[in-house]
Structure formats: structure tokens, C-alpha cells
Symmetry: C2
Subunit: 343 residues, 2 copies
């Protein structure tokens, strides 16, 4: 593909048959150039694809007004809500988001980080991939004083701030709710405990069992990638258990929904035979029958909070380096899927 | 925030107490520099955040191996599938995607285009916002010979190629199916007909009615932004009709699902009272009860196709400027929501 040379003010000057000085002044809105000419110049500049913020410009100002976001996947209601929250704050402050997905693969996450670094984002927001084990790929950002913030799936580090919910407390609340509904054999659908979110939800589950005198049975903890496919497989696994569980707490809604559909096919009554509760309060909770009890994960708020702290730091209003973690509230939303008895 | 100067080979040389020439050669893998030193240099470079592909590099090569994608929203199964298809092709070819969302607002779409332009993407993929009326904001790309491709929501133009499905045929098929099920008063939930996809689906609906001797009634065409909220409002509108419809064809699944939930609350039996069919074959079609008849929109394939043509053009294998439109096949997936009688 041919690579035409940069469009310069000289090209604009030639096209309009005026001096480059006039063009330069016109573009800067210099008072000595009359409105009409300024308008003509601006229009021609746009038409030719001349932009003042080309690399040279960026190099000078060292500002791109762009924030990079790296997320595991873009296929969940939680993630689209979180991004909507970030967009809201970014727009208000004249920043644009550029987003990339790691597809749950740390190798891809590293590539994404390099891309964002080379595209010169002013700041970076990351939710870690399933299998990311360290954050060496993010250190170049701190070397360059480019602030990095984590949300949801965070990494506990000196340099970076994370915005999370209290996953332990949430996991505890769901489990306690199921116990209060009379459940004694509660299956937990867990994710990769390398990630804080899944580790803490499992801990909350264990602690709730302990505090209520329900023995912890490792066979009842089923770990997977929490995908739709995993949901179906999990249901088959559950149906083959010598003794069926009477409750399920899943670390996400999506996986549980496909597990529910499979259990229902097998004639299991929900909640009578098995009471179930998920995590995230995904839209699907109000579509599946019976409607799904879940933890309301404030995706929009977590996105807003993360972007707000990052941008306040960029604008020099605050210094996030003093903050290690920001914890948002969650709420248990009880629906028909877990109500064996009125609470 | 302090802005440290560029990390250069001189910084690396100083830190390692060796000559800049050695560093430069080491980074290039020059044979005169021994493995050990090369390793030390590489590690220090990484630690300091030195990267060869900084702006200077990009300016020379004019290549960023980055493809920009602008989409209306990231909150649909169709969109996440399309992006997964693009990622698949991009990864295979060493390209990274950076994604931004217009949030259905042409103003935001214009900003996104500028951001992508200034981040120097090698190519751009766009699905247009609900209210975008022209593509002036994309012309600078063609001026710079940066290829632009549309998918799904395309704009018919000389310069650019679009990847679409035959929305007319799909709309025709769904409507004919409902007519064959005995429906005579079929409501159509339409989107903004400024967008090809919604315009063509409506046309297909009208033509099918005409070909089967069912009169077209403008009162049965309800136009909205096809959101969840619109689905609920539409249901209320339908329930107030002097004579209830016996069928609904919605231009997307998501809106229809919320319409169905509301109709069910009002005691409407689906499909007995009203047979319904949607568009996209979203995951939710197999979660809602009764399962939803829909047009299988091959999101992953449309993403793969778009990225493949763009990258083949970038690699000089083909020239997309010769291609105006690429049309993919769709399929009507019949489920319980529309089956008044066995076909």
C-alpha cells in the first residue's frame, strides 16, 4: 500500500492558494485572520485529513487524552456495565477509552499492554486474565509515570491501586442465605483461585459453612472457567453425585444459568430439590425461570469509580499512589431460585 | 504529574556502565555482542520501560500493527461474537485490536474516529451508531490510505467496503414463517431505518406480507431504539391495541425478550395468543421460556470475514477497494415461541 507523506499546513496553503503562515495562524485561531478564512482553512484541513494532534503534537504535549482499558472478555453484562461507567466519566473529562481484550490469556494481555504503551495512553485500567501470574508487563507504565489501576480482578502490589467489591463478604452472605433456607449440602461453582475474586468468594463460602456448623466437603467445590459449557458439564457432574446437593452457590450467573437449564431438563425442581444462587446480578437473572438469586455487583459504579480516580490523578487533583484498594458495597438480591421458605 | 524524559539507549548504557553503541547493537542482536551482555541489556531495557517501537519507530515504519474498531455498544452477544471473530484473525496475523464504543451517538463516533486516527491505526473497522448521518469523519482515513471497512451497520459509499447479511431476505423469511403459522396481524418492532439493517428488515417484512396477501398496517410497525426499556413499553402499547396482534417480528432479540416477559405477566400465552420471533439468535433465545425463534446472525463469521479482508488488504494480498459489499448467509432457527402449528 502506498504511504503518502504527512499532510502539512503547506498542502492546505497550496490548495487554498494562501500562505502557510496564514494557515498556521488560522488553525490556531489567530485574531489577525478573519473568520471566513479561518473557516475555509479548518474545512480544508479536515478534508485533507490534517490534524494538529499528530505524533509531533503528542510528543510535545506528552498527552493523548486516551485511556487504555484491558479486560478479560467483552461478553458479560458486568463488563459492559463497567465500561459504560468508565465511558461516562471519560467523556465528561474529554478522555477517550480504547479497549482491548486478553481473552483470558496472559500472553495476549502482555501484547495488549505493549500496544497500549506504544499507543501512548495517558493511563491504563486493567482487569486481569484468568491465568496472569505476575504484572511485569505493567511495570514499564510505572517507570514512565503512566498510572495503572486495576478493577474487579486486581493484583496486590505496591505500585498500583485496585477497585474491588468485598468478595469474601458477598460469598459469605450468599452461603448463609442458602443455609437459612435449610441447605446442608451446598455445591460451590468456583473459578480460578489465582484471581482474588474467586479466591475470596470461596473463602466466604467456607467461613459461612464453618460459622453455621455445616461441614466443608471438598467434593462439593467444582472449579472451572465458569463458561456456559462448564455450566452444562457441572450439571452432569452434579447429577452423578451419590447424594444430590440441596443448594448451589455459583461464582458467576452465566455458568449457573446453563447448569440450571441442564438440571431442569433432568427433572430437578428449583428451588424445591436444589436452591441456587449466583453472582453478578446479570440481566439473565430476571429472564431465567425461576428468577435467579444473585449478588448485585455494581459494574457501572465500579467503572465510574475506577475512571474517576484515574482521571483525578491525571488532572493532579489527587494522587492514587497513596491508595491501595477501594472497596465498593454489594447486595444480595433474593429471588425465587433460592426461596425454599420465606425468610 | 511529572513527565520524565524518554528512556533512551543512553539511560540503559549508563545503568549498565557500558557504551551506548554496545546497547544499540545488543538490542539489535548484533553478533559482536555476547549473549550474556545482550540478555543484561534486554532485561534493563524492559525494566526501564525502553521500547524500540516508540513514536520514532512508528513514524519511520508507518506501521503500528494495530487495527481500530468502533462499535455502537459492547453489550450484545452479537457484538462480542463479532469481536471474537476479529480477534481470532488479528492474532493469527500479529495485529492487535483497539476497540471503542460510540454509545449509539454520532458525536462520540466522530471523537472515536479522531482518537483512532491519532493513535495511527493501520486500518479501521466500523459499525455505525444509530444516528450517524454521514461519514465525513472517516474521509481523513482514505486521504491517508488507511483502509476502512464497515460491518453490520454499513454506509453505502464509493470508498469503503461493507460486510453484511441479507437483512431483507432474513426479514422476509421470519415474516413468511409467522404467516405460515396462521398469523394475520403481525407487529414489527423496528429500529431506526436510517441504518441499513433496520431499513432492510422492515422492507422484507412488508414484501412478505404483500406476497402472501396480508395487508400492511402502519399501526403495527412500532419503531424504537430496541432497548430493554423499549421492549417493556412496546408490550404496554400492544396490550392497549383495540385488537391484539397474533404475531410479533422484532428486529432484535433483546428488545423482544423484555416485551415477552411483560406480555406473559399480562397473561398472554406465547405462542398460542401471540407467536413471536426475533433477530440475532442471541444466547438468551435458549434461556427465555418458551425458547425464542430467531434469525441466526453469524456474528463470529462476520467478524472473521471483515478482519480477514482488511488484513489481506494491509498485507497487499488483495485490494478491497474493488469490493463494495460482502454478504453472508443467515438461517431462520425455529423454536417454541412461534410454533402455533407443526410446519
Amino acid at each position: 500500500m502506498s504511504q503518502p507523506k504527512e499532510i502539512t499546513i503547506y498542502d492546505i496553503a497550496r490548495e487554498l492558494n494562501i500562505s502557510a503562515t496564514t494557515v498556521s495562524r488560522g488553525l490556531k485561531g489567530h485574531p489577525t485572520i478573519n473568520k471566513n478564512t479561518r473557516k475555509k482553512i479548518a474545512e480544508k484541513a479536515k478534508e485533507l485529513g490534517y490534524t494538529p494532534n499528530t505524533f509531533a503534537g503528542s510528543l510535545r504535549s506528552k498527552r493523548t487524552n486516551t485511556i487504555g482499558v484491558i479486560v478479560p472478555r467483552l461478553n458479560s453484562y458486568f463488563m459492559s456495565s463497567a465500561l459504560a461507567g468508565m465511558e461516562h466519566v471519560a467523556n465528561k473529562n474529554g478522555y477517550n477509552l480504547i479497549i482491548s481484550q486478553s481473552l483470558e490469556d496472559s500472553k495476549k494481555e502482555i501484547e495488549n499492554a505493549h500496544t497500549m504503551f506504544n499507543r501512548r495512553v495517558d493511563g491504563l485500567i486493567v482487569s486481569l486474565a484468568f491465568n496472569t501470574e505476575n504484572i511485569a508487563h505493567l511495570l514499564p507504565f510505572s517507570t514512565r509515570n503512566i498510572p495503572v489501576m486495576f478493577f474487579d480482578r486486581v493484583y496486590n502490589s505496591e505500585q498500583f491501586t485496585g477497585v474491588v467489591i468485598d468478595n469474601f463478604a458477598a460469598g459469605y452472605d450468599v452461603t448463609r442465605h442458602l443455609i437459612k433456607q435449610g441447605c446442608k449440602r451446598i455445591v460451590h461453582l468456583a473459578g480460578n483461585t489465582l484471581r482474588n475474586v474467586y479466591h475470596d468468594r470461596l473463602e466466604g463460602y467456607s467461613q459461612a459453612l464453618k460459622d453455621h456448623g455445616v461441614p466443608f466437603d471438598p467434593h462439593l467445590v467444582i472449579t472451572s472457567n465458569l463458561s456456559e459449557e462448564a455450566g452444562v458439564e457441572t450439571a452432569q457432574q452434579i447429577l452423578q453425585m451419590p447424594q444430590l446437593p440441596d443448594g448451589i452457590f455459583s461464582a458467576n450467573d452465566n455458568c449457573l444459568v446453563y447448569c440450571m437449564l441442564e438440571l431442569k431438563k433432568a427433572g430437578i425442581r428449583i428451588p424445591e430439590d436444589i436452591a441456587v444462587a449466583g453472582f453478578n446480578n446479570d440481566r439473565v437473572c430476571q429472564i431465567i425461570e425461576p428468577n435467579l438469586t444473585s449478588i448485585d455487583y455494581p459494574g457501572y459504579a465500579i467503572g465510574e469509580t475506577t475512571a474517576t480516580h484515574l482521571i483525578n490523578h491525571l488532572l493532579g487533583h489527587t494522587n492514587i499512589h497513596n491508595t491501595n484498594t477501594i472497596v465498593l458495597r454489594t447486595e444480595l438480591v433474593v429471588r425465587a431460585s433460592s426461596l425454599k421458605r420465606k425468610e
